[in-house]
């Protein structure tokens, strides 16, 4: 087998511990992100998903400052921010984006302060780049149980609330009339999102976290109207993008400039973006066909009659 696949998988791909960890963690994270992402895209809360990643940066740098585990900082700040966004609690999308923006701005201000203090106390700013761009090849194998536990918790919460969440996403009025506590369901979802983003951002960096949450889900929702199918499709697309990205990033160590691999995040994000673009092709062709049909009909109707362009 390895004979045929030699051009695809470079030497040592299957023997490397770092790669094995990346493949496992990447898949787990992509599944969680895909499932949660479908709801995020349907609710129009992509901004919150992106903001939690950046808000986690301030949590991470704050944790570094006091010597706590970064995950604790990510979770604490994520929960606080979710609370703030929910407290402002504007139901209209416009006001909600604004509230998210304010929370994000405040958190970034804190991040600036923490990083300044980090650099004066610990004498390093390296933490900035590490947190922002995180690297999946640098995950310690020992974090796998923790990642798995957090992923399982998020999936469990999602399983419990998915029916009322779906209803209150599609129609808050009907959900309210049927006795669904719309606000509590929304807050629970937001907390799950904060936890999921903390998980993603810590393992694969905040860029990939947003990409995996939004990209596969948005593409899946264009391909199918059924939420259940969309969740499965999004998870599958996310895992595929992640694995393909890992393979390419591993191979890229052998590309020019030699000895300096290209980042995983670049590959995964590019794949996700292309997948999203491709998911729009069927609708685009449908529109073109409809335009052509309309034009043909109008052309046939127009025969023999003089110009009537300015009528009406």
């Amino acid at each position: 087998m390895s004979h045929f696949l030699a051009p695809v998988f470079e030497v040592g791909f299957f023997e490397s511990d770092a790669v094995r960890t990346a493949v496992i963690v990447g898949a787990a994270v992509a599944v969680v992100a895909g499932a949660l992402g479908v709801f995020t895209v349907m609710r129009g809360q992509s901004f919150a998903a992106e903001a939690f990643g950046d808000i986690g940066t301030s949590g991470g740098s704050g944790a570094f400052l006091i010597g706590a585990a970064p995950l604790v900082g990510f979770l604490v700040f994520g929960v606080l921010a979710a609370g703030a966004m929910e407290l402002v609690g504007i139901q209209r999308a416009r006001g909600r984006d604004l509230a998210t923006g304010i929370a994000l701005g405040a958190a970034l201000g804190l991040a600036a302060l923490f990083m300044y203090l980090d650099s004066t106390i610990h004498n390093t700013t390296g933490v900035v780049v590490t947190i922002l761009f995180g690297s999946i090849f640098e995950i310690a194998g020992s974090t796998i149980p923790l990642v798995a536990a957090l992923a399982a918790a998020v999936v469990a919460v999602l399983l419990v609330i998915h029916r009322p969440l779906l209803l209150s996403t599609v129609s808050p009025e009907i959900a309210g009339a049927r006795g669904v506590p719309v606000r509590i369901v929304g807050a629970t979802y937001l907390l799950a999102l904060a936890a999921a983003v903390a998980l993603c951002a810590l393992t694969i960096g905040s860029i990939l976290s947003t990409a995996l949450l939004i990209g596969p889900a948005a593409a899946a929702l264009r391909a199918t109207r059924r939420p259940g199918r969309a969740v499965l499709l999004a998870a599958a697309l996310g895992v595929a993008a992640m694995w393909l990205g890992i393979v390419l990033a591993y191979d890229s160590y052998y590309w020019p400039p030699r000895g300096n691999g290209w980042p995983v995040s670049f590959f995964v994000v590019t794949i996700v973006f292309v997948v999203y673009l491709l998911s729009g092709v069927p609708a685009w062709r449908e529109r073109r066909r409809a335009h052509a049909a309309t034009a043909r009909r109008a052309f046939a109707d127009d025969r023999g009659t003089p110009h009537r362009a300015t009528a009406g």
């Binding site: 992106e50 300096n260 590019t270 973006f273 685009w284």
Partner: protein
């Protein structure tokens, strides 16, 4: 120090003006995405050896165009997120290829207002002038399209055209402000002051003026505090933006409560100011 003061004031005016429309259109995500993504352009510019501002300009315009074109058919917030991460992915690639960029990353994210050289004054002022001029020219159609998109469309103001124009303005503002104050700070400035201004008054022109004034006060206070305490300026801007927003919301809530009984009062107010009559164009 004087340079910092002047440049920061210019930036505050642009942020106040552009941010007013950002808040009006509920486009906080775009205001976050374009400056953040454009940062990849700066990294790319360093890589190929051109001026940072060129990279920023190219990337912010490309990002704005992508968001505008793809957002026309898709869900615009998902498209914004995808555009942002794609640009950041490119940035990660550029950073990995050029290895000695870390301090520059920090300064692009958080800005270095206090280290501005006199030679940066003229281009910043020129770009700011262009930015404000474009907004002034577009003011009426952009305003109508932001508040009542349907009415605007009926009067021949294309919704999508206005969206593209608005995105281009944000891109322009990004290009001029990011090298000076950083991506994170400009975002706080564009959101905090205008959002507060909007809850203080109902009149558009007054809100716009107030938004600029609040942005100026925020920046001046932040520079002074940062100078005396030595803490980063971004912290003070972020904190004061959140505080301003909270005060604005509180003010609006108090005003609403004072107008009780709400239903009757609202009806009376509606009678005093009947909705604008639309002249029918034939």
């Amino acid at each position: 120090m004087v340079n910092a003061w002047i440049v920061a004031s210019i930036v505050a005016v642009v942020a106040g003006v552009v941010g007013f429309f950002v808040v009006l259109r509920g486009a906080a995500f775009v205001a976050h995405a374009i400056p953040n993504g454009a940062f990849a352009g700066a990294a790319g510019a360093v890589l190929v050896g051109v001026d940072t501002i060129v990279g920023l300009g190219v990337f912010s315009l490309l990002g704005a165009l992508t968001i505008g074109v793809l957002g026309r058919r898709g869900r615009s917030d998902a498209v914004t997120a995808l555009t942002l991460v794609t640009m950041l992915g490119l940035g990660a690639l550029f950073l990995s290829v050029s290895s000695e960029y870390e301090p520059a990353v920090y300064s692009l994210l958080f800005g270095e207002v206090l280290g501005i050289s006199p030679s940066e004054l003229a281009p910043t002022a020129a770009l700011a002038g262009v930015c404000v001029l474009v907004v002034a020219l577009l003011y009426r159609p952009l305003m109508l399209s932001s508040v009542l998109a349907e009415v605007g469309e009926a009067r021949g103001i294309g919704r999508w055209r206005m969206e593209l124009a608005f995105l281009a303005v944000v891109a322009l503002a990004t290009t001029m402000t990011v090298p000076v104050v950083g991506t994170l700070l400009i975002f706080s400035l564009m959101i905090g002051a205008p959002a507060a201004a909007r809850s203080f008054t109902d009149r558009p022109q007054r809100a716009l003026a107030l938004s600029v004034a609040l942005a100026l006060v925020t920046v001046w206070a932040a520079i002074a505090l940062s100078y005396t305490t030595n803490y980063p300026i971004g912290f003070f801007v972020g904190a004061s933006a959140a505080a301003l927003y909270a005060i604005g919301r509180g003010w609006a809530a108090v005003r609403r409560a004072r107008r009780a009984p709400p239903a009757g009062a609202r009806a009376a107010r509606h009678e005093a100011h009947p909705p604008e009559r639309h002249t029918i164009l034939t």
